[in-house]
C-alpha cells in the first residue's frame, strides 16, 4: 500500500461568532477572530490517499482525478470566498478550521465514488493549516 499526499492552497475569509453566545462571550472565546467584519487566511490543505499500486499504470492514485475532485468539490466552493456568507454549511455552523475540515472531508467523501474506481484508493486523512502555527487533521477513523 502507498499513502500519497497532495497539497492544495486556498484563500478565504471568515468570522468566528457563535450565535448561542453573548457578544462578550464571543469576544472572550474567539478574540481577534470575532472582529465583526471578519478576516482571512491562506489555507494549506493536504489530502492523503491510501491504496495499492496498479501494476499497469504504476499509480496508486490518479492525480488528475484527485485534482478534478478537489477542484470541483472544494476549491470552486471555498477559494476566495467569505465562508460565513457564501458557503451553505456555515450559515449556521461556526467556520472554525475544525468545522471547515469536517465540511471538506464530507465534500470529498460524497464525490469519491464518482471520481475513483470502486474500493481504490481510500481517503485516509486531511490536514488543514490555517496558518503555519495552527494545524488540524481529520482521518477516516475519526
Amino acid at each position: 500500500m502507498i499513502r500519497l499526499t497532495r497539497r492544495y492552497r486556498f484563500c478565504a475569509s471568515h468570522r468566528l461568532h457563535a450565535p448561542g453566545l453573548s457578544e462578550s462571550e464571543n469576544r472572550a472565546l474567539y478574540g481577534k477572530c470575532n472582529h465583526p467584519f471578519g478576516h482571512g487566511h491562506n489555507y494549506v490543505l493536504d489530502v492523503s490517499v491510501r491504496g495499492p499500486v496498479d501494476p499497469d499504470t504504476g499509480l496508486a492514485v490518479e492525480l488528475e482525478a484527485l485534482d478534478r475532485l478537489v477542484g470541483r468539490n472544494i476549491l470552486e466552493a471555498i477559494d476566495h470566498r467569505n465562508l460565513n456568507a457564501e458557503v451553505e454549511a456555515f450559515r449556521e455552523a461556526v467556520p472554525t478550521s475544525e468545522n471547515l475540515g469536517l465540511e471538506i472531508y464530507r465534500r470529498l467523501s460524497s464525490g469519491w465514488g464518482s471520481a475513483f474506481p470502486p474500493n481504490r484508493p481510500a481517503l485516509e486523512k486531511i490536514r488543514i493549516a490555517e496558518t503555519e502555527k495552527n494545524i488540524f487533521e481529520i482521518s477516516s477513523h475519526g
Binding site: M1, I2, R3, L4, T5, R6, R7, Y8, V53, D56, T57, G58, L59, A60, E62, L63, E64
Partner: protein, 135 residues
Amino acid sequence: MLVTRRVDFSASHVCRNPALSDDENRRLYGPAANPYGHGHNYVLEVTLEGDPDPVTGMVMDLKELKEIVNRQVVEPMDHRFLNYEVEPFKTLIPTPENIARVIWDCLAPALAPRLHSVRLWESPDLSVEYFGEAA
C-alpha cells in the same frame, strides 16, 4: 522510536505506458507523460523504527545510515534520467509510487528489520509514503 534521515537528489523521468495511446497517457499522467521527460528535485525521508542501543544511545549510527542511503539510492539516481539509466525503470514506469517502492527494495537488505517507511517528495506539493509489502 522513529528516526528519520532526509536526503535529496535530482533526476528526470517520463511517465508513459507504451501499451496505452497518447490520449490515455495524457489523461492518466498529465504533463508527466511528455515523451521528452522532465525533472524534479526529489526529497527522500528514510525512517527507521527501533529502541536506542543501551551503550550508544542510538537507534542507528546516522553516519552509517547516510552512507547506505547515498550508496544505494543517491549515487545511482542523482542527476540521471530514470527511464534510461536506472535499471528497474527500463521496464517499470517511474511514478512516485514505483520510485518509492524501488527505493524501499534498495534499502531493505541493509536496513531491515528497522526500516519503517520511505517518504518521497516529488515536489513540495506531492509526496508518497511506502511501508513495505507487509503494510
